[in-house]
């Protein structure tokens, strides 16, 4: 499976609002911690190392 870059989420505007709202009451440190947890949870959900590697690269990570 390749990394999906076409829209894969229903109602994208609502998703985006949900994401932003989830950190509404957080300061930067708390939000950063939550982002770390989110990355870990979602990466484990994806599982496929090749897909995760492609995502790391797409996000601007070092190869």
């Amino acid at each position: 499976m390749d990394l999906k870059l076409t829209l894969n989420i229903a109602d994208p505007d609502d998703f985006y609002r949900e994401l932003i709202d989830s950190q509404r009451h957080m300061d930067s440190a708390q939000a950063a911690m939550m982002n770390c947890k989110l990355v870990l949870i979602l990466a484990n959900h994806v599982g496929d190392r090749a897909v995760i590697r492609e995502a790391l690269k797409r996000a601007g990570g070092a190869a």
């Binding site: 947890k37 870990l40 484990n44």
Partner: protein
Amino acid sequence: MFKTYSFPKFPYVPSPEQKSGEVRRHRLVIIGAGPIGLAAALDAAAHGLPCVVLDDNDTVSVGSRAVCYAKRTLEVFDRLHVGARMVEKGVSWQHGKVFFKDRRSYEFDLLPEDGNKMPAMINLQQYYLEEYMVDALKDHPDVDLRWKHKVTAIAQHSDHAVLTVETPDGAFTMEADWVIACDGANSSIRAMVGAQFTGQFFQDRFLIADVIMKAAYPTERWFWFDPPFHPNQSVLLHRQPDDVWRIDFQLGWDADADEEKKPEKIIPRVRAMLGDDRPFELEWASVYQFACRRIDNFRYGRVLFAGDAAHQVSPFGARGANTGVQDTDNLIWKLKLVLDGDAPPALIASYHEERAFAADDNLLNSSRATDFITPKSAASRMFRDAVLQLAEDQDASFARALVNSGRLSTPTPYLASSLNTPDADMFAGAMKPGTNCADAPVTVDGRADWFLNQIGGRFTLLSFGPAPVESVSFGRVTAKVLQVGRDIVDATNLLAARYDAAPGTIYLIRPDQYVAARWRAFNETKIVQALARALSA
């Protein structure tokens, strides 16, 4: 002075060759009488290979140092007849807890597999191990253990090395067909041969304290990340024999080693950790920094490197002594066969091939644990803390799998070794060529025994059911048949299960108890070819 241990003092004995001034050629000289040098000597003795061991000191290790001994290491020591004594004295453990800040993050169980003679892990102070090995070597006709002998120079020749050795009686010269340098992470022999020793240095300093106390803590490995009693750092607690507890405190990169070694600094740290006023006494303490690095080649001419002299790892995961013992386990049988002219010198090259591969695997594991325990940036620290927070959730087992407070040492299989004959037949399970043999309970002459005690020290053909011959040879090297159902009885069927065996299955097993090849049916030509391959012939 230690309260729980009195250090033996081994006498310096002037050697006849130094007295006479006659230069002698020895087959094997081992430099360093730490756990690895002594294991090499025991193994050489077991193979009937005479050796001289030189050590610049005259006692055992001061302080607990290498504490955890894993199953494979204990199996090697059992082959060398010191394993039982270690297990008897040592503290066997399998449970651990990981704490993050003021909370318990999770617990683990090493879940040792049933049907193994040796436990998953024991804790034992290094000085006990060394004492037991020196005892086992005492009066051995093939082992010449010399204290207060310091090697100060090495000259290499095509078929031997010349050592300059200093003793209380001055300097003398000795020759050796082969030298094994087991002189530790700061090996002076390594510098003498001009070997490279490169890798990653870690800035963090750690304090090790051996503390005597009657504590009601369970026999478990406890690891704290960022605990309230030692903020922003890690702490490890381990139980050792004699009510001695080993505590490792991470101190950070800017700690003053001399200052931190002072009892007035250590005692409040331990007091804060215990959190009450129970009595304890400080037995020994040391401050250390470490690196993860390996020698570029395990062999320089006639000098072979083993243990910390060849590879240095972080202390997390008990990989130092454990892998060092596996170095000499790999080396001695090869050296014996080559010295006897029964295998070509090429067999020695497989020592670097197999053990450098294992060292790299250990270094990778060790560096990963170190990076988790001592994150190098604010971002990696945040990921680390996120993992630890997620690990507290009972249903987030994936996060617990990411927590790395040191993965405990398991042997690295030599899956790509040139000594292996790759499988041509279908097999399931773990016993692939290049893997160390699994143990299993067996019956020998009606007595309960263990499989690993039936093999080792020579090539073996493990035959499940009758074989048409009693042995197979290549040149002067013979692999004797060990027949399941006749020589050993597999009453529990565990041996057959672990080796995925059916009637007719044959395994060719190396002297170090590693699988060289396996087949579904006996074929002498193929066995001879595999034996030759395992000898680099």
